[in-house]
């Protein structure tokens, strides 16, 4: 009787010993850029819904910087648009789309000088844009609508932050950009001639996680997803307070932020499942259409008609978090 009891005491002592320090797990390093669609992440972290010891948010200044960091392995996850996801896949970075963060429904815009009434007026104008695939895609869609070719306009590539100043200096006639810069430009007299509400479902931001991280630390990803849904729910329940909390970071007044956010559609769990799961996930169609388009315009290497791999979508974390 006694001997086994004392042995189990010893065992308990040993277990206690290994319980001293929890296994150190690397935090999910997630890069963001200033974009209203990413705000619920910061709101979640502020509220403790996305635990800081599991998810580390990095605030990059531009999508170029963000993607560079992802490509270099400095971060494990990014909030990226579909075009960027396709590009990452193309270059073998093994991105895994685990969540649709938002769909731009007006938050991506073409801001022009007040005098310009139609898209055809863009011919020969100086159009500012970020040197990114998203910017190129948006520009391509705008030019398509205007019936112009790229040669018909003067493209000025510069970082997003510099556009407002360049506008004020009169160096640009039009800018392809997105919130919060649309609002900022509007505040200095630009007006919106075209936005993403005209091309619904095309500008989609997704949460991309590197494949190896997802395999090694799936729980960190789950924590992020869980926090994301919790933050959205909180935002739903406390719209005013949420706006107040989010406004400072993007440098917008609450009213402007509200407007900016109105151009962004967030997806709840059922919508996520429609997009990510099933025999033919909804997002797969969008990705393929996007790929075809990008290749058509030679924005993505490869021949038009090439099918995109379905392996980019990984609904497992979503199913774990919201079964």
């Amino acid at each position: 009787m006694n001997a086994p009891r004392s042995q189990s005491w010893l065992l308990a002592a040993l277990l206690l010993l290994c319980a001293c320090t929890p296994t150190p797990e690397p935090r999910l390093r997630m890069g963001t850029i200033p974009w209203p669609g990413s705000e619920p992440l910061f709101l979640g972290q502020q509220l403790g819904l996305i635990p800081a010891q599991r998810v580390h948010l990095i605030e990059y200044r531009s999508s170029a910087q963000l993607l560079r960091a992802f490509r270099n392995g400095a971060i494990d996850a990014v909030s990226a648009s579909l075009e960027e996801v396709l590009s990452l896949e193309q270059f073998g970075h093994e991105p895994r789309v685990v969540l649709v963060l938002d769909a731009s429904h007006g938050a991506d815009c073409l801001m022009v000088r007040p005098g310009m009434a139609s898209l055809s007026g863009l011919a020969g104008q100086r159009i500012g844009s970020e040197e990114s695939l998203l910017g190129m895609y948006m520009l391509t869609r705008v030019l398509e609508r205007a019936g112009l070719r790229r040669e018909d306009v003067r493209l000025e590539f510069s970082p997003l932050e510099t556009h407002v100043e360049a506008w004020q200096r009169g160096e640009l006639d039009a800018v392809v950009t997105f919130e919060p810069y649309c609002q900022r430009l509007a505040s200095v007299g630009a007006h919106k001639l075209f936005d993403s509400s005209s091309i619904p479902g095309e500008i989609v931001d997704v949460l991309v996680v590197r494949k190896d991280f997802l395999q090694a630390w799936p729980h960190q990803v789950d924590a992020l997803l869980r926090g994301w849904f919790a933050a959205l729910a909180w935002k739903q329940q406390h719209p005013e307070e949420a706006i107040q909390r989010m406004a400072g970071r993007l440098g917008l007044e609450p009213r402007r932020l509200h407007e900016a956010l109105s151009g962004v559609r967030f997806m709840d769990a059922p919508a996520q499942r429609t997009l990510l799961t099933g025999a033919r996930p909804g997002l797969q169609d969008t990705i393929e259409r996007m790929g075809e388009l990008l290749r058509h315009h030679q924005l993505l290497p490869g021949n038009p008609g090439q099918t995109e791999s379905a392996r980019m979508l990984d609904a497992a974390p979503l199913l774990r978090v919201s079964p």
Binding site: M1, N2, A3, S6, L10, A13, L14, L17, C18, C20, T21, P22, T23, P24, P26, R27, R29, G31, P34, F42, Q53, H56, I58, E59, Y60, R61, S62, Q65, A69, A74, I75, P159, E161, T162, G248, R249, L250, G251
Partner: protein, 639 residues
């Protein structure tokens, strides 16, 4: 209750057994050693982390200082902000701030802080010590990277030239705060992990050691213990038969040898015990073992002696119950071991059984006890008594002829004298004439002689009577000369034709003896002396009877003859019963043995010396009566 105690102790016993104790000690050692090294290792690793991060931050800030100063000089604020944002990819970097000379945040890893005054953006930086370090960095224009006092973080302060020096000294500040807790936790985890691994390894070794003890030692030790218990319980054929050439194997073989020897010894002991038991049970002598006057054991002979049917009936009886009343502790151990005593036992039927008893002490059942060995001498005593009588009769027979002869002579002359007197008186009566004086004198003479003859015959008859008085065994003062005279006259007929009897009486007191017995003794000695001398030369031989006083206590009577003598080899056996050199029919062989018995019974002793061809001398020592008489009288008066 009693059965419970060993059961409870069994658990602890298992704990202190080698196969558990040694591994337990090893585990305890592993735990203590593990904890000790863990503490040291953790401290060491934490120091390493601090030093490493401090160096890393110094390097990074030095690099940033140059880059940022260049970008600021060229007015690329956006690039500066990107540089700082880039830092954010390190999860342990709590914050990175670039302050201008007005302490407003120019760039940060956190977007929300940009443009805010420092006291709002990062209140920690307006604490006095932080301000002092900022000031020092600005004044000295050198970076300062330190580990905080609690070791939880590393903070770096670097001064930054905000604009070309030509435009005036605008100095900003780059501040990085690096959290160490995660890195330290990781190191601690690794240290614990390695300690755990080594502990588990030791536990494994302990387990193997336990198994080793169990199989190599424990099982064999238990086998040995079980066999030892079997041996203790009497199973002498149990053997351990341990294998192995180690110490335990050797011990096992030695143990088996011991068991073998024990078994043999036990068998020998059993056999010897059986022999002794048979010996005791078949012994014709009665054997009693008793302790503190209680009988513990009696053999069948003892049971028979006392008339019982079974030994169990005797066992436990008090010793007194076995004896005739009045026996004074006769079964107690005597001061003379081996000396026999006569004891009167009481037969179950009440009659007396006479035993000759030897008593000594032995250990019985591990405790001292007394053994009494008794021989039934009742019959022997009776036979002896009969023999003594027979011997006397034989002596009388021997004497008969002599006595007849002795009587014949006086009878013949008494008769002839009486016949002469009758004739003389008859003749005178017939003649009617009175006896002449001469005749009267002759008749008177004849009658006187006849009277003398009658006197003599009466004396002879008296002597015979006193000699054959057998019922009286009483000891008393005896005039030894009177006894000797009687004997001499009785033995005269035997001696007369062979030797001259010479009496040399000294001044001796009366001796303590039985007159009749004493007479038998001396008659025997005198007849023997006479018979030792061949007939024919009566003048040349003599039988000399001498009395003398030895000392106050003793009187000695010597009977010396000049006969054939006794060879020395026969002297030893002289007093043994049935020893005789005489022809068959002459003697019984009991004479001298009875003499010896008579003398010793009366408290005297008898000695013999002899020379072949010269003669033999018997000396009889008898105690002086006076003193004993007084003592006897005293005893009687007190009795």
């Amino acid at each position: 209750m009693r059965a419970l105690v060993p059961a409870q102790r069994a658990g602890w016993h298992r704990l202190v057994s080698m196969r558990v104790l040694v591994p337990l000690l090893l585990i305890a050692y592993a735990c203590f050693f593990g904890l000790y090294t863990l503490r040291r290792d953790v401290a060491h690793r934490e120091l390493q982390v601090e030093e490493h991060v401090r160096q890393d931050i110094t390097l990074r800030m030095t690099h940033l200082q140059g880059t940022l100063e260049y970008l600021l000089r060229t007015g690329q604020l956006e690039a500066v902000r990107e540089e700082l944002a880039e830092l954010g990819s390190n999860p342990d970097l709590t914050v990175g701030l670039l302050l201008d000379d007005q302490r407003t945040v120019l760039a940060s890893t956190r977007l929300a802080l940009i443009g805010q005054p420092v006291w709002e953006a990062w209140p920690e930086l307006i604490r006095p010590e932080a301000l002092a370090r900022m000031k020092a960095a600005r004044v000295r224009m050198s970076g300062d990277v330190r580990v905080s006092e609690d070791g939880s973080r590393v903070e770096g302060y670097y001064p930054l030239q905000l604009s070309p020096e030509s435009q005036g000294p605008r100095v900003g500040l780059l501040y990085l705060q690096h959290d160490l807790s995660q890195l330290k936790a990781a190191q601690r985890y690794r240290a614990e992990h390695s300690a755990l691994r080594s502990s588990l390894l030791l536990v494994l070794i302990a387990g193997l050691l336990g198994l080793f003890f169990h199989f190599a030692l424990g099982r064999r030790v238990r086998r040995l213990a079980s066999v030892a218990r079997q041996l203790a319980a009497g199973e002498l054929n149990a053997r351990a038969r341990l294998r192995g050439v180690d110490e335990l194997g050797t011990l096992g073989r030695a143990f088996d040898d011991m068991a073998e020897r024990l078994s043999q010894d036990q068998e020998a002991l059993r056999r010897s015990e059986a022999s002794f038991r048979t010996l005791i049970e078949r012994s014709p002598d009665a054997i009693f073992v008793h302790r503190e006057r209680t009988l513990l054991f009696a053999n069948p002979a003892a049971v028979t002696l006392l008339g019982y049917a079974r030994e169990e009936e005797l066992r436990g009886l008090a010793v007194e119950e076995l004896l005739m009343p009045g026996e004074q502790d006769p079964l107690a151990e005597t001061s003379m071991p081996g000396a026999a005593r006569e004891v009167r036992f009481r037969h179950r039927g009440g009659q007396q059984v006479l035993g000759e008893v030897v008593t000594f002490s032995i250990p019985f059942d591990g405790q001292p006890a007394v053994v009494s060995i008794a021989r039934d001498v009742t019959e022997r005593k009776q036979v002896q008594e009969k023999l003594r009588t027979t011997d006397r009769m034989v002596s009388l027979g021997t004497l008969a002829a002599g006595v007849a002869h002795e009587l014949n002579n006086p009878i013949s002359y008494v008769l002839s004298n009486l016949r002469f007197a009758v004739d003389e008186l008859g003749e005178a009566g017939e003649a009617g004439k009175p006896l002449s004086d001469e005749q009267a004198q002759e008749v008177q003479q004849a009658l006187r002689e006849a009277l003398e003859g009658g006197e003599r015959m009466r004396n002879i008859v008296h002597d015979l009577r006193s000699f054959s008085r057998r019922e009286d065994e009483h000891l008393g003062p005896v005039d030894i000369h009177a006894v000797l005279d009687s004997c001499a006259s009785l033995a005269r007929s035997v001696i007369r034709h062979r030797a001259q009897l010479v009496k040399e009486y000294g001044e001796v007191p009366r001796v303590l003896a039985n007159e009749s017995r004493l007479g038998q003794l001396f008659l025997n000695l005198l007849v023997n002396a006479g018979q030792a001398i061949p007939e024919g030369d009566a003048k040349g031989h003599s039988v000399r009877v001498t009395t003398a006083r030895v000392d106050a206590m003793w009187v000695v009577v010597s009977v010396q003859d000049t006969g054939v003598g006794i060879p020395p080899e026969n002297l030893q056996r002289l007093f043994k019963p049935f020893f005789t050199t005489k022809p068959v029919g002459v003697g019984t062989g009991l004479g001298l043995s009875i003499c010896h018995g008579i003398v010793t019974a009366m408290g005297g002793r008898i000695e013999v010396s002899s020379e072949v061809g010269k003669g033999t001398t018997f000396r009889v020592y008898m105690p002086v009566a006076e003193k004993s008489e007084q003592a006897t009288r005293g005893a009687k008066s007190t009795g």
